[in-house]
């Protein structure tokens, strides 16, 4: 690895970095707590990080329904959360941002997990992970969010996860964890167009949104690697050695920086993609890092930590450039999915 950073002192609930305090800028993210059936809105800005609201998203008080993936419509007006468990099928629920009022929901397949919404078509794509079933083909659901109707379901492979749309909305990328491959779905015709084997036994858990220069990054969770894949050549161009269990990744909008959670290593890795070097690796303050997002201005990375047992989940905030942890706040148990909502000044 490159220059590994030592864990920075945690600014627990206190002040944000001076320049952020001075700017008055706030970042808002949605975070799903899988074992508390709730989604929290976390603000980070002057005064540090805080939970500004928590929304219960289950229907059964005495059954754990498992909110897993969360995302915000590109128009910023609605947010969506996948509910992993049902009887037996999971669902995706739609809420209005701001009011957080429930708008609608749709039943999908077994354990719907990662989801993304297309700006050009208004279609939501969600992978049906079927995490605990037999090793059989899972699927990708396509949902028209205006009516929350499932308009297509495409069989994709075993244990699909980590779906992200291309910036023009024409392609949806996901990985099949137990088929060891990256999959490209035509997001207009809903047909699988390409598959890329990642190596025998390599279990991918995440794929990023394509960068402006046509790269996606895929985790090899069990081999401690991240693969850079060129979409035009459809080949692995670079392989990065990471900490144990790279799980989720996000890349800055300009495609030059990457941050990844190391689920088994209880750390977050920060990468300079131009140099292909890990510039920092910071231990997390709690076990089992899960989700990660890079803010649109590429200043910060927000990371969710699941914790174990009765531990609360945690959202940590890191400087993307240095890997320094600059904030943290506890949320519900088993924090996982995280999505950027808005930034204000």
């Amino acid at each position: 690895m490159g220059a590994a950073a030592v864990a920075a002192g945690l600014l627990a609930g206190g002040a944000a970095p001076a320049e952020l305090e001075a700017s008055g800028r706030n970042y808002y993210v949605y975070v799903a707590a899988e074992s508390d059936d709730e989604v929290s809105i976390v603000r980070y800005g002057p005064g540090g990080a805080e939970v500004v609201k928590t929304v219960a998203v289950g229907s059964y008080p005495a059954e754990v329904e498992g909110p897993h993936g969360v995302n915000v419509d590109p128009d910023g007006r609605h947010w969506y959360v996948s509910i992993a468990h049902g009887f037996p099928y999971g669902s995706v629920r739609k809420y209005e941002t701001g009011t957080d009022a429930w708008v609608g929901d749709v039943t999908l397949g077994l354990f719907p997990a990662t989801l993304d919404v297309s700006a050009p078509t208004g279609l939501l794509f969600a992978v049906n992970f079927n995490l605990h079933g037999p090793l059989e083909a899972g699927s990708i659901s396509v949902v028209e969010v205006d009516t929350m109707a499932e308009v297509a379901r495409v069989e994709t492979g075993v244990r699909p996860h980590g779906g992200r749309l291309s910036r023009d909305g024409s392609a949806f990328y996901s990985v099949n964890m137990m088929d060891f491959e990256l999959v490209e779905l035509d997001a207009f015709t809903f047909e699988i167009t390409r598959r890329l084997p990642l190596g025998d036994g390599v279990m991918p858990t995440w794929v990023t949104r394509p960068t402006p220069d046509g790269k996606v990054y895929v985790t090899g969770n069990n081999v401690a690697r991240i693969f850079e894949i060129d979409l035009e050549s459809w080949r692995i161009e670079r392989t990065f050695e990471t900490g144990a269990g790279p799980y989720n990744i996000d890349v800055s909008a300009d495609g030059t920086r990457m941050a990844a959670t190391y689920k088994n290593g209880d750390a977050v890795g920060f990468w300079d993609l131009e140099r292909g070097e890990e510039t920092a690796r910071t231990p997390t303050s709690r076990t089992i890092p899960h989700g990660i997002l890079v803010t649109p201005d590429a200043e910060f990375a927000f990371v969710t930590l699941e914790g174990a047992g009765a531990d609360p989940g945690t959202v940590e905030i890191y400087r993307l450039a240095t890997g320094e942890r600059v904030g943290a706040v506890d949320v519900g148990k088993q924090a996982g999915g995280i999505a950027f909502w808005k930034q204000d000044d």
Binding site: D36, V64, G133, E150
Partner: protein, 681 residues
């Protein structure tokens, strides 16, 4: 670059307007989308093709524009990427054609899309045939048999929504009403016609003079209590005094409630076979009729005075987390113990000494990698406990086997078993050295624990219905009863069902589902007083919303009830009774010595007399012996009763409450008539 991307590139720079209302055309400042035809009417199975035309601002056709077709009801009407439509089911549906917006702006907020909606009407298929079914063998003057018909449409589906009209060829002999009831006036031949959407069936009937010259009605008992099922037997006789079989006899009940019961509503009812039950005390007269003959018999119903008060004996407080299920057993040392689970917390199970229910002692806490230990069970010999795990940090849940033979000496973890149970085990049961463990709500696995340190899977049972799901399993006398939400209760021979089933190779015996789809728990029970085999099936439902399970939250409110199913014949289960508490909902249950102990969440603990034959609404019949609604201002959610599960043990009733932990109560001795809601004191 793919063709699609080429198409998207062509559209680059186009500014689109907001989503169009239902119309065949939408336009933007630069683009117009037209779809023809603008609406469709298709028969089931019929196909059509949509044609989309995209024009630019100058009106020129954009040949390679991307158009996406969607169906908002894809299982009822399908559309391909080329716009080919096929109708599968009747109804009103909407297809959508849209042109993706230009993503090139780079900002988060996209421009709106060009979109057209195409309404599709698929009329219900026409009726193909109508047929009389199950017609009576004999028709007697003066009786009112009902004729049943079945309507089948052109695609072979049985339809209940198509109106059927009836007509008689000779109303002087036989009149027929709109429901198919005949009024048979005189002997002779007559043809009855049933018609649905122009198709008909005819039934020729021969009306005979009734041989009945007298009708007798006998009550099974002159007096009874509310909730007692009394059989009224009608005997029709001919002129020779011989019983006539096969003549239709109808029953009705009238009468009045006891003085002091005002506006009671329907206080008694009689079934088609003459079984009678009253919900309120009073004097009731059952009338039987056949033809011009009738007979009446009166019965006096007294109040079912079973009410007893509840006394709290002791508590095992758990106020810092939710408590889940419990099991009480006598240990090998002769003392009495309890194990309770925890929910949404830190993976604890607690072991209690409950030998003196007034002084419950927490002996041990077992902590496993989980957030919820939803279920706890102990083997028949009191030596082994199995606890379920959900929310394990490594997402490998499974079960944990504990040694509970001598809890005062310790409760060792003997083994854990996670293979193919990673998705979470919600409920378990132990029977004859086998654990029946649910896996991810889809099936149950049978795990041999004869050697508790080396569990091994030996069998499995899973339904094959679409979208099947399972919530619980309970084993009794070698038959496993699983609770399967919409699939209802499924009885499976695992060694005692008489159909060759074993733990290794379970054999289904029968199943019973009911319309709500809320089936959550089941308790098999053979009535001591009648010998009937009943299955008590409990619901779980939270239709009212607004719940909270977090500390400092607010009380939740459940719905659902306990269904009583007479399952004396595996092939013919019959739901005969219910126990439904208004504004509360059922959870776990236990039955012993003809007494039902039921957890009713916000409705607390309920104790119910289920002796004798069961029929109708047990709650309204005054069969409830006792209720206790626990609350504690220091509860995990303050003053929020949420009773999870009960178990009687050596004269006490133990139960767990989600927000307060373990309770021990007992029924006080009766010192006189009890207060019965709905009955005069």
């Amino acid at each position: 670059m793919t063709g699609i991307r080429c198409a998207a590139a062509v559209l680059a720079g186009v500014v689109t307007l907001a989503a169009a209302p239902a119309a065949a055309q939408a336009e933007t400042g630069a683009l117009t989308l037209e779809v023809a035809p603008d609406r469709l009417t298709l028969a089931v199975g019929e196909k059509a093709t949509l044609a989309a035309t995209v024009r630019d601002a100058s009106g020129a056709v954009v040949d390679d524009a991307t158009v996406i077709y969607l169906s908002r009801a894809r299982r009822s009407v399908g559309v391909t990427r080329a716009g080919e439509v096929e109708a599968y089911r009747p109804g009103e549906f909407t297809l959508v054609a849209l042109v993706p917006a230009d993503p090139g702006g780079g900002g988060r907020r996209p421009e709106a899309r060009v979109r057209v909606e195409v309404p599709v009407t698929v009329p219900p298929p026409a009726a193909a045939r109508v047929a009389f079914t199950d017609a009576p063998a004999k028709y007697y003057v003066g009786t009112r048999p009902r004729l049943a018909v079945e309507v089948v449409d052109v695609v072979g589906a049985v339809r209940t929504d198509i109106p059927v009209t009836f007509a008689s060829a000779d109303a002087g002999l036989a009149e027929v009403d709109g429901f198919g009831f005949l009024t048979l006036r005189a002997p002779g031949s007559v043809e009855i016609t049933a018609t649905a959407e122009g198709v008909s069936d005819r039934l020729a009937i021969e009306v005979e003079t009734s041989p009945v010259t007298s009708l007798e009605l006998r009550a099974g008992a002159p007096t009874a209590l509310t909730g007692d099922v009394v059989r009224f037997t009608a005997t029709a006789r001919d002129a020779r005094g011989l019983a006539v079989r096969g003549v239709p006899v109808r029953f009705a009940v009238g009468g009045g409630t006891a003085p002091g019961i005002i506006a009671a509503g329907a206080a008694a009812h009689v079934a088609e076979d003459g079984r009678f039950v009253a919900e309120r005390s009073g004097l009731y007269t059952v009338v039987a009729t056949t033809g011009r003959h009738s007979a009446a018999s009166t019965i006096s119903i007294g109040r079912r005075d079973v009410r007893r008060e509840v006394e709290v004996v002791g508590r095992g407080r758990v106020l810092d987390r939710h408590t889940s299920d419990l099991w009480i057993w006598e240990g090998t040392d002769g003392r009495d113990y309890a194990i309770t689970g925890t929910w949404g917390a830190d993976g604890h199970a607690y072991i209690w000494d409950v030998t003196d229910p007034a002084d419950i002692e927490r002996l041990h806490e077992v902590k496993v990698d989980a957030r919820t230990v939803n279920d706890v069970k102990v083997s028949e010999d009191g030596d082994i406990a199995v606890i379920s795990r959900e929310g394990a940090s490594d997402r490998r849940n499974g079960i944990v086997v504990l040694g509970v033979g001598n809890p005062r000496e310790g409760v060792p973890v003997l083994s854990e078993f996670t293979d193919q149970l990673t998705g979470g085990v919600h409920n378990v049961f132990i029977a004859d050295d086998h654990v029946f463990a649910l896996s991810a709500g889809r099936r149950y696995d049978v795990i041999d624990i004869e050697d508790p340190r080396n569990p091994r899977r030996v069998g499995r049972f899973e339904l094959d219905t679409p979208g099947h799901s399972i919530h619980d399993v309970w084993v009794s006398d070698g038959v496993a009863f699983s609770s399967n939400w919409t699939d209802g209760i499924v009885a499976v021979d695992v060694g005692g069902g008489g159909r060759g089933g074993t733990p290794e190779q379970p054999v289904e015996l029968g199943r019973y589902a009911y319309p709500s789809g809320w089936n959550h728990a089941a308790f098999p029970y053979r009535s001591r007083s009648t010998g009937k085999f009943y299955l008590f099936a409990g619901d779980e439902a939270f239709p009212y919303g607004g719940y909270s399970n977090q500390r400092g939250g607010s009380p939740s409110r459940a719905a659902g009830w306990i269904h009583v199913i007479d399952w004396s014949d595996w092939d013919h289960p019959q739901e005969v009774a219910r126990y439904q508490v208004p504004e509360a909902g059922s959870h776990n249950l236990w039955i012993e010595d003809d007494v039902l102990y039921a957890a009713f969440y916000n409705g607390g603990l309920r104790v119910v007399d289920v002796s004798g034959e069961l029929m109708g609404d047990l709650y309204r019949q005054g069969r409830e012996i006792a209720m206790y609604v626990p609350a504690d201002p220091d509860g995990y959610i303050a003053n929020a009763p949420f009773v999870w599960g009960p178990q009687p043990h050596k004269g006490h009733i133990f139960f767990t409450d989600w927000n307060t932990g373990l309770w021990a109560v007992k029924l006080r001795e009766r010192t006189g008539p009890g207060r019965i809601v709905g009955e005069p004191r």
